[in-house]
């Protein structure tokens, strides 16, 4: 049984005191190594519509009129760390509106809601691992982590990949946003790996006279190159 690779050097630690919520929520024991089994190497492929519902790739077409803000395209591929496409896997996204406000009862910041923008979508990657969303660029917003704390503009991404072991929730940031370098959540990822979370403005994704395009590939864990050593072998 070949399992999946462990975290690489870009993975954030669990305890990052600058991100205050980690202090009482991060486990203190190191995670326990286990042999890979069918449980970790399987996942609910091919059941996405049945589970999450049909695709919702255009976040600007969910209500009566178009949302306010700058229309953008976010596109790319889902790959494994060997560089191979991960086809037929679900990507779910959610984000704040152009003013930086989430359509969530507990987001109490007084930036305006947009009745024409929810900010949630989902797509399934094609045979080459490609995905594409149309949305509006989210705004930055303040949060309570410290005095004058502001999150850089970001889109939340959730992927399942081929197996329980490949589950990933992450955030996409936009290029040349100076808030990234002072944000405790983005900074939990050490440099230079933090730059993996910054999308690229791409004139080939951009559509003339319609929307700017950003390219962002997601790289999931691949199969382990060094099989787990089992201590209960019967040779």
């Amino acid at each position: 049984m070949i399992g999946y690779a462990k975290d690489d050097a870009g993975a954030p630690p669990l305890l990052v005191p600058d991100y205050r919520s980690t202090v009482i929520r991060a486990p203190q024991h190191p995670p326990i190594a286990i042999p890979p089994t069918l449980t970790e190497t399987t996942g609910p492929g091919g059941c996405w519509d049945r589970l999450m519902g049909s695709a919702l790739a255009d976040l600007t077409k969910q209500h009566e009129a178009e949302p306010l803000g700058q229309r953008v395209i976010v596109a790319g591929r889902v790959l494994n760390e060997q560089g191979r496409a991960v086809p037929d896997t679900v990507m779910e996204i959610w984000q704040a509106n152009a003013a930086g406000r989430y359509i969530h009862a507990k987001d109490q910041w007084d930036a305006p809601h947009d009745p024409n923008f929810t900010g949630a979508g989902r797509v399934v990657t094609d045979a080459e691992g490609r995905y594409r969303f149309v949305t509006v660029r989210p705004g930055a917003y303040p949060w309570g982590n410290h005095r004058n704390a502001w999150r850089p503009a970001h889109i939340h991404l959730s992927l399942l990949g081929p197996a329980f072991a490949t589950r990933l929730v992450t955030q996409l940031y936009f290029p040349d946003d100076p808030l990234i370098e002072i944000d405790p959540i983005a900074n939990a990822v050490p440099m230079p790996y933090r730059q993996r979370l910054v999308a690229r403005l791409d004139m080939d994704v951009t559509e003339p006279n319609w929307a700017l395009g950003y390219r962002f590939d997601v790289v999931l864990k691949g199969r382990d190159q060094t099989p787990f050593e089992e201590d209960d072998h019967d040779h």
Binding site: Y4, I34, P44, R50
Partner: protein, 231 residues
């Protein structure tokens, strides 16, 4: 020589597209505002047609764009309810966590291309993936099927278990653990439970509260911290 403005491109930056940085996309927290984007109505009910799993009260009705429960029929096996609270290092409820489960059907088969054992039947009415947002008391609740036993390393069978993912504000990575069932056949010889120090195994074993009702709290930090796995 000049380049046509239509063909000019910004200079490449050290970003997501930089080949020198290619590798696993780093994890980030799910944050506190995922409820309108992830946990759908019925996501926590792997058996029937309820709305379990979602928190629709946290968004205006017109902005609920997630799925609705759509079971195709009733899966085979013993129906169980599984519940518990997610607690932080101070013993307080975590009201903004999301729990996911992944499990085999009653016969012990995963609905996955990577489980190629044709001699163990699939169940057309069972996928085995579930998702639940915790409520204001930090409580999660699933309705599912008691999983069958699946093979482990070597020739052995694993004890019945669910694979569990935990997400929340303040968790920079998905936490991975398992839920086993008190008194189930195979717990004593399970190869994964056996990796857990004996004094922490109880943190993975659900208690039977009543017929078909099992409970286990998930403790993120502290003396009774739930054992988590390095995947």
């Amino acid at each position: 020589m000049t380049i046509d403005p239509a063909d000019r491109r910004p200079e490449a930056r050290p970003d997501n597209q930089d080949p020198a940085l290619f590798g696993q996309t780093p994890s980030q927290t799910v944050g506190p505002f995922f409820h309108y984007g992830l946990p759908w109505k019925g996501g926590a009910d792997l058996v029937g047609r309820s709305d379990m799993g979602a928190r629709p009260e946290l968004m205006p009705e017109a902005h609920y764009v997630l799925n609705l429960s759509s079971p195709s029929g009733t899966p085979g096996g013993e129906v169980i309810e599984l519940t518990g609270r997610v607690l932080d290092g101070q013993g307080a409820a975590v009201p903004d966590a999301m729990i996911e489960i992944w499990q085999a059907n009653a016969a012990g088969r995963y609905r996955s291309m990577d489980d190629a054992r044709d001699d163990v039947p699939l169940d057309p009415h069972f996928v085995g993936f579930g998702r639940a947002a915790t409520d204001e008391d930090g409580r999660y609740r699933f309705r599912t099927i008691m999983p069958g036993r699946v093979p482990g390393p070597g020739n052995g069978l694993q004890a019945p278990h669910l694979a569990v993912s935990i997400f929340a504000r303040g968790l920079l990575k998905r936490l991975a653990t398992r839920i086993y069932f008190d008194g189930a056949e195979g717990n004593d010889t399970d190869p994964v439970l056996g990796c857990v120090p004996a004094d922490r195994r109880a943190t993975l074993i659900a208690r039977r509260d009543a017929a078909g009702v099992w409970s286990l709290d998930i403790v993120l930090q502290g003396a009774h911290e739930t054992a988590m796995f390095d995947l």
